[in-house]
């Protein structure tokens, strides 16, 4: 058994093993009751598991972008040590996207990149509406976290590969690792240098993380939970229970994310 397990079980969090959660949200959501969605409660809850930083996109930014990104900005400016945000991109609102991209540099203290949600916005990643978004991200070498799901016509493997073939400078984080299409997720990591897998909705199923680490190692796998949808201790417990090595766990929990974000020494 991974020795981190015993320590997390005893203490709940570890000074020498902080957690960076690369895939989070904030705020209320129509489809689900989430009790802890405000920035103050989220900041407090992060401490339970030693989560040092979350990178999130407020649900309103994704669902109602005229108003939404201001909630990202407010939250990060209130908790600059604990929160960083993705600028939410909803291509159904091209004028808002244009404005958000043109003012992106003003909020470099807030944003680390962009968040896309094609399955919900019903626009495929390769659609022309996303073109200025990817061009901007590629030019500025930004992180782009996109929701991905196996067999989706919006953000399944075929759509993901069209982006990876075209844009080589941005870092594409595959939220949910093209859920269910694990072979393609593995293939893309082998084939493209600028792609990472993310573990939200993976760790609630035994066997997948073990397969990823066995096939591609742990250097390009990032810890993410959709917090405040899902609980940090649950996901940490799953990772530690998977039987992968302590070194792999540390890379996944914080080292890999820190390498990309370049925030902590």
């Amino acid at each position: 058994m991974n020795k981190l397990w015993k320590e997390f079980l005893k203490k709940g969090k570890l000074e020498d093993c902080p957690v960076i959660d690369i895939h989070c949200h904030m705020g209320l959501f129509y489809g689900s009751h989430m009790p802890y969605t405000d920035p103050d409660t989220m900041a407090k809850r992060m401490e339970l598991a030693g989560v040092k930083l979350i990178v999130f996109c407020h649900n309103y930014a994704l669902l109602y972008p005229e108003e939404g990104n201001k909630y990202n900005i407010e939250a990060v400016r209130k908790y600059p040590e604990k929160f960083k945000a993705y600028c939410g991109i909803n291509p159904n609102y091209p004028e808002v996207v244009e404005k958000d991209l043109s003012t992106f540099d003003k909020f470099r203290d807030v944003y680390v990149g962009l968040k896309l949600l094609p399955d919900y916005h019903k626009i495929p990643l390769s659609d022309k509406k996303y073109k200025p978004v990817f061009e901007f991200a590629d030019k500025n070498k930004l992180i782009v976290l996109t929701h991905t799901w196996g067999r989706s016509i919006y953000d399944g493997a075929d759509e993901v590969e069209k982006i990876l073939k075209k844009y080589k400078n941005l870092i594409l984080i595959l939220g949910h690792s093209i859920h269910g299409d694990w072979e393609k997720a593995i293939e893309f990591v082998k084939k493209y240098e600028n792609v990472c897998l993310e573990l939200c909705a993976i760790l609630d199923e035994r066997g997948i993380i073990e397969k990823f680490v066995y096939e591609i190692g742990s250097d390009r796998i990032l810890f993410g939970t959709d917090f405040p949808w899902f609980n940090h201790h649950y996901y940490i417990g799953a990772l530690l229970g998977s039987g992968i090595s302590e070194e792999d766990c540390r890379k996944i929990l914080y080292l890999n994310a820190n390498k990309i974000l370049k925030i902590f020494e």
Partner: protein, 253 residues
């Protein structure tokens, strides 16, 4: 604090289909339980679902007979077709059977008052638990659960694998109206604040510990519960005391 656990949601056997390939013996599970201070577990054999209840029930009963830490759940079909043996409650006690489960969507029947009315009334009277799986798509959905509990509101009912997204909108009305409904914890632990807010609103008495092994990790729901923002007594209730109380209430006679 060294909490001991009683896991109500474990299956064993071989599951090999186009998506999942899982093979786990009761011996292997027993070793994991020892490692994690899980003193007891309620289990079923996956062939009860995927082959035939009569076939799987026999395997289950045989496998748990000489293994002290395991209790079993047997799977039912409509009695009208005579495919499964008649239920002898006294005999179930000897065989360490502490509940029934149903897979109507997989086994092609309607789980309702017409099919199981008298029997469910008897279970209600005997405080005999039924275990419903809300996730697999083979058992029931929340509409089915609401329909059954509308007719049998005092049925002892353990809702397992509650759903991946937060399920409070489904489960809290049931807990409020039906005194013997309990939530199995594995996917409640997955939901941020799921355990804490349910305890705050309805008390720790309504949650029983479960892992969902072998499809999910024991360690996930253990770590969440151990560090949940609830008091230690409530953790113990969830971890093992509630299910022990539920089993003690069964009237086998």
């Amino acid at each position: 604090m060294n909490i001991e656990f009683f896991d109500v949601n474990v299956w064993f056997g071989n599951l090999k289909d186009d998506i999942k390939k899982i093979s786990v013996s009761l011996k292997r599970i027993s070793e994991k339980l020892d490692e994690l201070n899980i003193k007891k577990a309620i289990v079923y054999h996956i062939s009860q679902r995927d082959v035939h209840p009569e076939f799987g029930n026999e395997i289950l009963i045989k496998e748990i007979a000489d293994k002290e830490k395991f209790y079993g759940i047997i799977t039912l079909l409509p009695f009208q077709t005579d495919e499964i043996k008649k239920i002898d409650f006294k005999d179930l006690k000897n065989k360490k059977i502490v509940g029934f489960n149903f897979f109507p969507k997989k086994h092609n029947y309607i789980l309702d008052k017409i099919t199981f009315g008298d029997f469910l009334s008897e279970l209600e009277y005997k405080n005999f638990p039924v275990f419903f799986d809300l996730l697999s798509g083979f058992s029931v959905d929340y509409r089915d659960v609401y329909s059954i509990l509308n007719n049998f509101p005092k049925l002892t009912c353990i809702l397992c694998n509650l759903g991946i997204w937060n399920t409070n909108r489904f489960t809290w009305p049931l807990i409020e109206k039906c005194p013997n409904v309990y939530l199995e914890s594995s996917l409640l632990s997955l939901q941020e604040g799921g355990i804490e807010e349910t305890v705050k609103k309805y008390g720790a008495e309504r949650i029983v510990f479960g892992s969902g092994f072998p499809e999910r990790y024991f360690e996930a729901s253990i770590l969440q519960l151990v560090h949940a923002e609830i008091n230690e007594k409530d953790k113990e209730k969830i971890a093992h005391k509630n299910i022990e109380r539920i089993i003690k209430r069964i009237k086998y006679e």
